[in-house]
């Protein structure tokens, strides 16, 4: 006999409730497992990203460092931010300092903005304060330099220790070329010695000056002034800006700093410069006045094998050092990266 209708209705209700309960438990358990796994992998991924951001920040800071070393800088990298701080720890000499560089990478989680993933890496770097090795007042990767027609190269320092720190430097070589250096008058070149012959020419010069010309001439390498001069009246008198020109540069201007010519340096008689001139090539006739150094022929032999040198070039160590310090860079010491806390 079938049970009364009322009893059957109760059984179905209980069955449905049970099934609903089972399905709910299944769903809740599944959700908890997936949510927990998602959260864990998400946090793990953010931690790994924070580490990558920290490392990238450290590398970028060292790679982009030029000039004076700042105390701190931050970069937005990917989904995170790298905060770089530095601390000078040792002065090996007046030109070489050892720094500790710390990079803290953080990656925010929108679900917990107050506790971002955070990783720290540290490393050590040497700051080369005046990296350009100045072997001579004039170094041109040409076969011949003829100093004549009013040209003059004097490597006796016209500054002294009172004028600036490092003033009163020892005289250096006057000029360097690949085959011959001549002077019209016995006093046109004054150096110790007056000149040297570097048969390796351009490549020997590039190797010896300890500068990355490929980096300095790279259009992607940021400089303060590109194909234009600053208003020298509006910048501090002791600042030496970096200025880069490309192409054939008829230089008839006055200024100071580090002048990079990614092309042909063709100075006229009214050219006056305090600092350093680095050029891919020079014209066959050079005129004007330079209180500092000239290095040319930085991408193979100079386009003119003989240079008629009519420029008056004097050794002013204060100008030279000021311009040289704008080239200062950091070198990360190999095998010193570690993770901090």
């Amino acid at each position: 006999m079938r049970p009364p209708r009322d009893e059957r209705r109760g059984f179905v209700l209980a069955f449905v409730v049970f099934m609903l309960f089972a399905i709910s438990v299944t769903g809740a358990t599944g959700y908890m497992m997936v949510a927990s796994e998602w959260e864990m992998s998400n946090h793990s991924g953010q931690g790994a990203e924070a580490l990558t951001v920290a490392r990238a920040g450290l590398e970028r800071f060292v790679a982009e460092q030029i000039g004076a070393v700042g105390d701190s800088v931050s970069y937005a990298l990917g989904d995170g931010v790298a905060l770089i701080t530095t601390r000078k720890l040792y002065e090996q000499d007046s030109l070489t300092h050892v720094y500790y560089v710390r990079s803290e990478g953080t990656v925010d989680d929108i679900f917990s903005p107050n506790s971002p993933a955070r990783r720290v890496v540290g490393g050590y770097a040497v700051h080369h304060k005046r990296p350009l090795a100045h072997h001579a007042m004039v170094m041109i990767g040409a076969n011949r330099i003829d100093v004549a027609n009013g040209g003059e190269i004097d490597s006796i320092d016209r500054d002294n220790a009172v004028t600036c720190t490092g003033g009163g430097a020892t005289p250096i070589t006057g000029a360097i070329a690949a085959i011959t250096v001549t002077e019209a008058d016995a006093n046109d070149i004054q150096g110790v010695p007056d000149w040297e012959i570097w048969s390796g020419g351009s490549s020997e010069i590039v190797d010896s000056i300890a500068l990355r010309w490929d980096v300095l001439s790279d259009p992607d390498f940021p400089v303060e002034f590109e194909n234009t001069l600053p208003d020298f009246g509006s910048i501090p008198s002791d600042s030496f800006p970096i200025i880069r020109y490309t192409g054939w540069v008829y230089a008839n201007f006055t200024g100071r700093g580090l002048l990079i010519i990614d092309g042909v340096f063709d100075p006229g008689s009214s050219f006056t410069w305090d600092g350093i001139v680095l050029a891919k090539h020079t014209d066959d006739i050079i005129q004007g006045h330079l209180d500092g150094f000239l290095v040319a022929g930085l991408e193979g032999p100079n386009m003119y094998s003989t240079v008629d040198y009519r420029m008056r070039t004097h050794f002013h160590s204060c100008d030279l050092n000021g311009a040289n310090e704008t080239l200062s860079y950091m070198e990360l010491l190999e095998n010193t990266i570690f993770e901090g806390s």
């Binding site: 059984f11 490392r55 040792y90 993770e339």
Partner: protein, 264 residues
Amino acid sequence: MVLSTFIIGLVSHAFLVQNQYYSTQTLRTSAQDNVRTATELMAREIRTTAGGGVVVAGARTLTIRSPIAVGVVCGQEITSGRHIHTEGGPAGFDSDEVGGVAVRSGTTWTFQNTTWAAINGSDSQSATRCYDNGADTTGAYSEFHRLNGLDVLFGTAPNEGDLVMLFRETTFKIQASQLDPTTLGLFRSQYGGALTEFATGIDATAQFQYRTGGASYADTIPGAAIDDIDAIRIVADARLPAPTGGQDDVRFGWSVNVALRNIQ
């Protein structure tokens, strides 16, 4: 009555199957979490291993020297005392973990095992000595510290400007688990210490593999190539017994490649 029995049986079976599924999934998740956490902890120590810091590179045993703190010698005493700066100073690391000290010469490190107690030389003048040599000590007075006895360890004490590393020497070993003898476990020990199990449920396929340039990994490498190791793979496959009898164990394949940043 028959229909009710059939339905109850069906529901019960469904419940049991679901329960088994939940248990398996929970175990699988547990196995994943277990090996993930373990390999993440290991990777953090392995990643910054310095050049020359791999001491033992076996399929089931790995011993590495990784930096706890790196510092630069910024001052020295007439005696062998050397003043260094490390981030956070001595308070910034667990001195019990120190397994030795290394000095950087050229681009490589020379390691010597020792204890923190043997080289710790507290000196209130460390920051002053380093300041005299150009160090920026602002807000970091306590981060400068003195180390003694480095001349005994290295023949001569390091020069000013040299880098010094305090390292931990850690051994990772894959062997029979003490907590669950049916599986393997991952063990860790500090220099001179006993092995401690920190992950259980590791499969017999677990091992360490090594890369010495190129792209391939091997579980054994010639002794002469140990300094050429530039990446370590942790194969930490997980295995846990099934929740009920008559079923296969729950397995989870997991491996992590850790590039040695300081060596590449």
